[in-house]
């Protein structure tokens, strides 16, 4: 795989506000890449610098190895799906989709063939003559996709394309977008603030905070091996406990956590190294041991403080002696599982592999 987009030290300021602070990343050909972060972290600005709507304050954007400095958006091999979809209200669906073909030397029949193909691809067969204002939110989104894909760009930029849809439709579009991306093989760059969406759809995710990329990894690595507390906190839920580390044998660290005892972890579980001051463990990595026969690697006694019922899951807030904040434990509500009540004394089971050491 070779990089299609190369961001080298990209800076962007609006007046005194620094929106991007030295962002560097490589986006590979044909991958589904996500920019994930809270609002105001600079992810949309980064997307717009790639599209060419924002001039850089510093740094370089290369697309396909070519410096994009001074190249206007209309001449970049990247097309965009806007958050508002930007469907031209005075044109019908067919005219919207064909808009980008206006400057191409194509016969009328070739154009309508391409429009049909594009609409088929997004599941809107026969919508050519529909007026723009008659479309539903999901249909608008599909038209926007067809309009951008008809030009066969090297890169498709998607600015929060699903945020305006309701939950059901959003989930459906997530799988559909993923399928579409595999089908056309074009690099997709998705901007989103929804961590679940990013995890489901992406090959790789860049988590951004405050104008910088905090971590760039695959969804799996991002979830299981977050590099710092901010990332760990933003993606999923994590319990944090104070701890101190010291070097054990080569490649391993000894971590002391009040309440949990001394634990030996491998170095790749400790991005902070021996300087780490806290350990993180995800709620689903903790198990409540329901009866005496059930055992685990490590066990810690505790007391149930509160239960939040989510239908398929339950979250338990469990007090553990020696640990200041209660731990959050999640359990699947499988058939026949013994119901727990407030104030039940229980044992928590866990394993040292699911711990990570952070600073």
């Amino acid at each position: 795989m070779k990089p299609i987009i190369d961001l080298i030290n990209v800076d962007k300021s609006f007046g005194d506000v620094k929106a991007l602070k030295g962002v560097s990343a490589q986006i590979m050909e044909g991958e589904f890449f996500s920019l994930l972060g809270p609002s105001g972290c600079g992810k949309t600005t980064l997307l717009r610098t790639i599209a060419g709507f924002e001039d850089l304050t510093g740094g370089v954007v290369l697309i396909d190895g070519k410096d994009m400095e001074g190249v206007l958006p209309n001449n970049r091999p990247a097309n965009m799906v806007f958050q508002s979809y930007a469907i031209f209200p005075h044109l019908n669906v067919g005219e919207n989709v064909a808009f980008g073909l206006r400057r191409k030397q194509l016969s009328l029949s070739e154009k309508s063939e391409k429009v049909k193909e594009a609409l088929d691809m997004v599941g809107l067969e026969g919508y050519e003559n529909r007026a723009a204002h008659t479309l539903s939110g999901g249909q608008r989104q599909r038209v926007a996709l067809a309009r951008a894909l008809i030009l066969r760009p090297r890169v498709l930029l998607l600015d929060e394309p699903l945020s305006a849809l309701d939950k059901k439709l959003r989930e459906q579009m997530q799988t559909e977008l993923r399928r579409l991306q595999r089908q056309v093989g074009i690099t997709f760059i998705l901007v989103t603030h929804d961590q679940e969406e990013a995890l489901i759809m992406s090959d790789r995710i860049a988590v951004m905070f405050d104008g910088q990329i905090a971590q760039l990894d695959s969804p799996f690595d991002l979830y299981t091996r977050p590099k710092n507390r901010e990332v760990a906190n933003f993606i999923g839920i994590m319990n944090f406990l104070p701890g101190s580390a010291s070097q054990a044998k080569k490649g391993f660290l000894d971590v002391t956590v009040p309440g949990l005892g001394e634990i030996t972890i491998s170095e790749d579980q400790a991005p902070a190294g021996v300087n780490g001051t806290q350990v993180g463990i995800r709620p689903e990595m903790l198990t409540i041991l329901l009866d005496a026969e059930q055992t685990s690697d490590r066990e810690t006694p505790g007391k149930v403080l509160e239960i939040d019922y989510y239908g398929d899951m339950s979250y338990y807030s469990v007090a553990v002696e020696g640990v200041t904040d209660p731990l959050s434990v999640s359990m699947r509500n499988t058939a026949g599982r013994k119901a727990l009540n407030k104030d039940d004394k229980i044992r928590i089971g866990w394993s040292s592999e699911s711990l990570i050491l952070l600073d």
């Binding site: 300021s13 609006f14 007046g15 001039d55 304050t57």
Partner: protein, 296 residues
């Protein structure tokens, strides 16, 4: 960073520049010229361009100019007061009593009469208010009066009535706009707190509508000062205003510098009055915050 700011700023300035240039050349420069003129004098056919305050002396010392200026201010103040007082209940009615889907129709209803020719509208008031006019013949026909009423034409009253009519929508609309913005739940909350309708109106609705009332007053006050047609048509000798004198100096007496001086004085009095109104608004806000505690 500077580059971006500059390019956006430069684009905006470039785009606005034709309109700005127009306003500058045909508004700012001319007004500056009027100011300059007011310090010159007319010597029969020639302009004497030596700096002098003679025009201002004449304008302030000769009773006729003073009388006209003060009468203009007086009439404008009365017109503003009357127009706003009459307009408020209408705006209130449309905002609070008319159903949502009929509001636009009511606004249209209010504005329709004002698309009659401005001259003819004022002339028709002369017809209505005249000695043998619609009002007098109507009242006589009903047997309410024996002799025609004479105090309603060719004096200040006629000017006030006519101008209160002419500026009605300009007073109604700003008040209506602020009334529409009032959160209705505030009023309900006030009723819930056991306040009566009248107390709610005085303590919630009126203070919240105050910016609209001020806007209406300003919008009516400024142009009426400079009205020329109304005093000329229905004012009679006792209803003439400063604009009539300005016109006389410019077009008849060929004394542009004096006309310019009068125009400047009219503008200055407008600005002064607005400043007083502004201070009053500040004062009202202060009273409100400290003693009534509504806007807190």
């Amino acid at each position: 960073m500077k580059k971006i700011m500059n390019s956006e700023g430069a684009n905006g300035l470039l785009l606005v520049s034709p309109t700005l240039l127009y306003a500058f050349l045909l508004l700012a420069v001319p007004i500056a010229a009027v100011v300059t003129f007011s310090f010159w004098t007319q010597n029969y056919l020639d302009l004497d361009t030596t700096f002098t305050l003679d025009n201002y002396r004449a304008a302030t010392e000769e009773p006729i100019y003073r009388i006209l200026l003060f009468r203009s201010l007086n009439i404008s103040a009365i017109v503003t007061f009357v127009t706003v007082i009459l307009a408020f209940p209408i705006a209130y009615y449309i905002s609070f009593f008319v159903p949502q889907n009929k509001k636009a129709r009511w606004i249209f209803l209010i504005t329709v009469p004002f698309w009659t020719s401005y001259l003819l509208r004022i002339f028709l008031w002369k017809v209505i208010l005249g000695y043998n006019g619609v009002l007098n013949s109507g009242l006589k026909g009903l047997g309410l009066i024996e002799q025609p009423l004479t105090f309603i034409l060719y004096n200040m009253n006629a000017v006030v009535i006519t101008l209160a009519h002419a500026w009605a929508p300009f007073a109604i609309l700003p008040i209506y706009v602020v009334l529409e913005k009032i959160d209705r739940s505030l009023l309900v909350a006030s009723y819930d707190l056991g306040e009566s309708r009248i107390i709610t109106f005085l303590r919630v609705t009126l203070p919240l509508a105050f910016p609209g009332i001020v806007a209406a007053a300003v919008i009516v006050f400024i142009p009426t000062i400079g009205d020329y047609v109304t005093p000329k048509l229905v004012g009679g000798p006792s209803g003439l205003m400063i604009s009539n004198m300005i016109q006389l100096q410019f077009l008849k007496a060929n004394n542009a510098p004096l006309g310019a001086t009068l125009a400047i004085l009219a503008m200055i009095s407008v600005v002064l009055t607005l400043a007083i109104l502004w201070l009053f608004g500040k004062f009202f806000g202060w009273i409100n915050r400290n003693y009534l505690g509504i806007l807190r």
